[in-house]
């Protein structure tokens, strides 16, 4: 649930990047951090191992600006994708307002994508949240992989009912990164405004 600080006149939303290990969640955040102006972002915090694998989470606060007298801010988080860090993933989901699911387009990661989506569903259930209760946007990342699977095939595995919008991306070059973030932010705003 978003947090409103009336005294500081701030509204904060929490967006979590989820997905299998090495799918490009941290790369998405790094791109956002590099591209947005200095006065619209805070410090990026990364709790990672020495070989740059996310250990607990990455965090980046993004200032959207002032709306109706309220400073609006998105707090972007990534979770550690590796299977054995599930306890940490669960903690990061607390209070989430929107999710970007970053899938890997490589054929040998199709199963990992499916398992990560199942894991997301299970972890949300522990907070009493169903997938349909929360804005989710899918991102098929690494579209520059030579043998990248068709987007339809990835979607068929992680979202067979086609409930969520899906964006193609190459996070290392920034392709699709802002589009994905914008889409989830819009859905979060629209969900909160209608609640």
């Amino acid at each position: 649930m978003s947090t409103i600080n009336f005294a500081a006149r701030e509204i904060n939303f929490k967006i979590v990047y989820y997905g299998p290990g090495m799918s490009g969640k941290t790369t998405n955040l790094k791109w956002v951090f590099q591209q947005i102006p200095q006065n619209r972002k805070g410090e990026m915090v990364s709790l990672a191992t020495e070989d740059e694998r996310t250990l607990f989470f990455d965090f980046l606060p993004v200032d959207l600006g002032e709306v109706k007298g309220f400073k609006t801010r998105f707090h972007l988080y990534t979770v550690p994708g590796q299977v054995f860090y599930n306890a940490s993933r669960k903690l990061i989901l607390r209070g989430v307002d929107g999710i970007v699911f970053v899938a890997d387009s490589a054929p040998n990661r199709l199963r990992a994508n499916a398992e990560s989506m199942r894991n997301l569903r299970e972890n949300l259930a522990e907070y009493g949240i169903k997938l349909e209760d929360i804005p989710i946007v899918l991102q098929a990342n690494k579209r520059d992989t030579p043998d990248a699977l068709p987007v339809e095939m990835i979607q068929a595995v992680i979202d067979p009912e086609k409930r969520f919008p899906i964006f193609e991306a190459v996070a290392t070059t920034g392709m699709g990164v802002f589009e994905t973030l914008k889409a989830v932010s819009r859905e979060v705003l629209s969900r909160v405004a209608s609640s």
């Binding site: 649930m1 978003s2 947090t3 409103i4 600080n5 009336f6 005294a7 500081a8 509204i11 904060n12 929490k14 947005i36 619209r40 805070g42 410090e43 915090v45 709790l47 607990f56 989470f57 965090f59 606060p61 993004v62 959207l64 600006g65 709306v67 109706k68 309220f70 609006t72 707090h75 306890a87 940490s88 669960k90 903690l91 990061i92 607390r94 209070g95 307002d97 907070y127 009493g128 949240i129 209760d133 929360i134 802002f178 589009e179 973030l181 914008k182 932010s185 819009r186 705003l189 629209s190 969900r191 909160v192 405004a193 209608s194 609640s195």
Partner: protein, 163 residues
């Protein structure tokens, strides 16, 4: 979006701010913060003599993550909870106390403030803050975000991330 939110404003905010100010004075700490469990700052106070604090967003996020991990550890060990967190370096210390189910009290202090005093006044402040935050819990429907707000925010999204 099923978790209740703490929305401190008006009298509740003033009360919480007074508790934090009193805590600063009594404990001799540098900074005091009230956070929600998600890592957002609800109220913070700084001692007049203290240098500029580090980025509060980052501080709050790391503390909330740390507190969540500590609670998960407690449950794994069969404890319902560990009530407090204390980190002490050669000159700086950090003390975190739970404020009910939804918030955390954070005290950042240096070697001029004895840790015993920080803990004593920290626990008292946490008790006072618990009642205040409980009264400030709101359900998602009462946050007052309307479609006009949504449209304004949406236009800013276009400006920041391009059309």
């Amino acid at each position: 979006m099923v978790e209740p939110a703490v929305a401190l404003f008006g009298e509740a905010y003033e009360k919480a701010a007074r508790v934090l100010e009193e805590l600063l004075r009594e404990s001799g700490a540098r900074y005091t913060l009230l956070l929600d469990r998600k890592g957002f700052v609800l109220v913070h106070k700084e001692a007049l003599w203290a240098p500029k604090p580090p980025a509060l967003d980052s501080l709050a996020t790391l503390i909330a993550g740390n507190a969540a991990a500590t609670q998960a550890l407690a449950r794994m060990l069969g404890e319902p909870r560990f009530n407090e967190l204390l980190h002490q370096g050669s000159t700086h210390g950090l003390y975190v106390e739970e404020v009910g189910e939804l918030a955390l009290l954070v005290i950042v202090f240096d070697s001029s403030a004895p840790v015993g005093r920080v803990k004593l006044y920290g626990k008292r402040a946490a008790q006072a803050l618990e009642g205040i935050t409980q009264e400030a819990v709101v359900s998602p429907g009462t946050l007052g975000i309307d479609s006009e707000y949504r449209e304004g925010a949406s236009a800013l999204l276009d400006e920041l991330f391009g059309n």
